[in-house]
Assembly symmetry: none
Homo-oligomer: 222 residues x 4
């Protein structure tokens, strides 16, 4: 039977999948190799044929499931149409899809939080290959929007972080409160983008606040 050959080719992937489930469920330390093995339908020993230690299994699993994130982000941005606002919306929707909605992205973030200290190279890699470039993308988007007159230029420095924060916030709430968090994600996203683009203040609220030097940066009244 080709059965054997087929299994062999698939085993590493199956083990990584099982490892993802197990580690996401309980974290690195509390997960036993036997848990992973059972989920993968093999015995403990078989895992060691493919991965030399629990640490390496963890690292390779995280790498495996974070590999395409950045690539996808780049591809997404490249294909975005329209003005800066449209592009920004597209990027945010990507973030929601990849971090908040997608179980893989979400749980990888959990593992970064819970076990990142034990895997500093992993964290560094994520900073270098995903977080920093993503923030840079957003910053460039904001700058381009400012240059074209669409966006207000004041948000240069930390705008990127503020802009994506709600998607990460939603992710975190899902991680902590799980299924008990009832929330209409679509409405949440709409609200996020609406608030982001238009701000909280009414014209009159703005008028009241502006003379009092609202937010640190000098700004011409609207």
């Amino acid at each position: 039977m080709k059965e054997r050959a087929r299994r062999k080719a698939q085993r590493p992937g199956e083990i990584l999948e099982a490892a993802f489930d197990a580690f996401a469920e309980r974290g690195f330390a509390a997960t036993r190799m036997e848990d992973v093995a059972a989920r993968a339908g093999v015995t403990k020993g078989a895992i060691y044929f493919y991965f030399p230690t629990k640490e390496r299994l963890f690292e390779e699993m995280v790498d495996h499931y974070s590999r395409d994130m950045l690539a996808d982000a780049g591809a997404m941005l490249a294909s975005a149409q329209g003005g800066s606002a449209e592009k920004l919306r597209a990027f945010l929707e990507f973030m929601y899809g990849r971090c908040a909605r997608d179980r893989y992205g979400r749980e990888i973030i959990r593992l970064m939080v819970s076990d990142g200290k034990s895997f500093p190279q992993l964290v560094e890699r994520h900073h270098r290959d995903f977080f920093a470039p993503a923030m840079r993308m957003v910053s460039e988007l904001l700058a381009a929007g400012a240059a074209s007159g669409e966006f207000r230029p004041e948000v240069a420095k930390h705008g990127a972080e503020i802009v994506v924060a709600p998607s990460v916030f939603l992710t975190l709430m899902r991680l902590i409160f799980g299924g008990s968090l009832e929330l209409n994600e679509d409405a949440y996203i709409v609200c996020h983008i609406e608030l982001l683009l238009n701000g909280l203040l009414t014209p009159s609220g703005r008028a009241n606040l502006s003379p009092a030097k609202a937010c640190g940066e000098d700004r011409s009244p609207i």
Copy 2:
């Protein structure tokens, strides 16, 4: 000797402090009772005099360090002066102080993420006693602002989450990237509030976007 009596009264607190440090450092599963004991300057056995199991020690520690958060939040809001925008700013500064800047708040969040699944009552309690009330406070603040004409009313439903998200985002980045995250927190907060209140769009950007039904909700042009 009074010394002995004083030590005795302080022991539980010292152990909780040590437990916080230890659990924050490595998470629940990877922390050994002996780590906690060593940090507290006692032996393993002593801990069991005050706390019957590792689980209970963890729970009581988390309770201990999250107890005042809600109280502080309530007190803070009650004492806030000025219009809704001022109150909102005060609340956000409280959030930054309690979650992002304060090591205790930050690490408790880490533990919620990493070990919350094993302590569902803890998570529930946090949801009931801290997260939900805090969100309610913000929602009420936004509603009051809308009623008084300061805030735009469109953000009723999910505004609270969006509004606080950047402080939680900063917290999470600190948890994951630790000291290697260089960031001027003051400037970040200023940017957050500025962007929150005034939005990203310039008047012309707004004009371009509005006819195209910018953000899902119908809205009178500004």
Copy 3:
């Protein structure tokens, strides 16, 4: 009860004794910590309270049981009476007692042979602290005997090794063939010393051989 205190003080020694028995029986690799524990009447975990690893247990055991050998050898020599021949006989009897007859000395030699490659410092220590000094003692004894006219001076260079060899040979036979080696040790020793002192040749055999340059070194006929 003082039982506990008494046990506590004796435990390390009991474990070392058990470790000696177990390692001597099966060698380092084939001995399980559980074997040692069972012989010592404790559980596996208890051993780790006193010795951090199997390797360290092994090393400390070997150290423990070889510590007095050199000291004893020195004391013995210092107290030896009579001429050089008497002293030599005393030394050889010490060797037989310590290496061949004594189970501890014998089995330590076995462990040097079987596991010395894995514990090079141990081997070095034995060379530096036991083997080399012992050989030196014998060499000095031979030199003193030669100076006093008792011993033939030709054996300067390797005489020490040749002189002690039969005791080590007996040790090795005991290690390999164990109880099945039937041998009158006393007669063996007598024969050893007799042959050592007087040589194998008769005067006539000597006469036949001498002119033919018997053994490399030039030597006046007796």
Copy 4:
């Protein structure tokens, strides 16, 4: 292909060679079948085609490398020329060559010491087929020498062991101290034979000792 056939015929020998290297390096217990396989340039499974268990592989390897020793010893003795002393010298040189100098003989002795207890038939075989006959040969040689008046007759009982001891002693030192044992083997052998044949005492030393009944056996003064 002839190549394949030739390889096939050589495989068992290659595996035995690899097994010798591996077992000699680390002993039976610490050697893994995979070590042997790697040295032999095959995979684990291939070994099991030729040898059913690790134990059998070990036994056959030891047999393989000790088979010719006795035959060689017999052949050597048969071809020895000259008087008893010459024959004895020839035998001793054979011993040095086979035990001390030859890596195979030396390491087989190591394995007898380290793992003999687990392979009692192996040890018995060695005793029956090598050690006992060799000792018998030497005994007969000594008896013949005594009969011909070359050798002193007093050494009948244990002379053989004493006579060969230095070669085994050298072997053991090499096994334990390895390359760090600096020693001129030729000079060592010369010294051994010289001392063996002529003894340690000078005529005057002998005179002093004799009246005191030096070595147990009554003996006419030289």
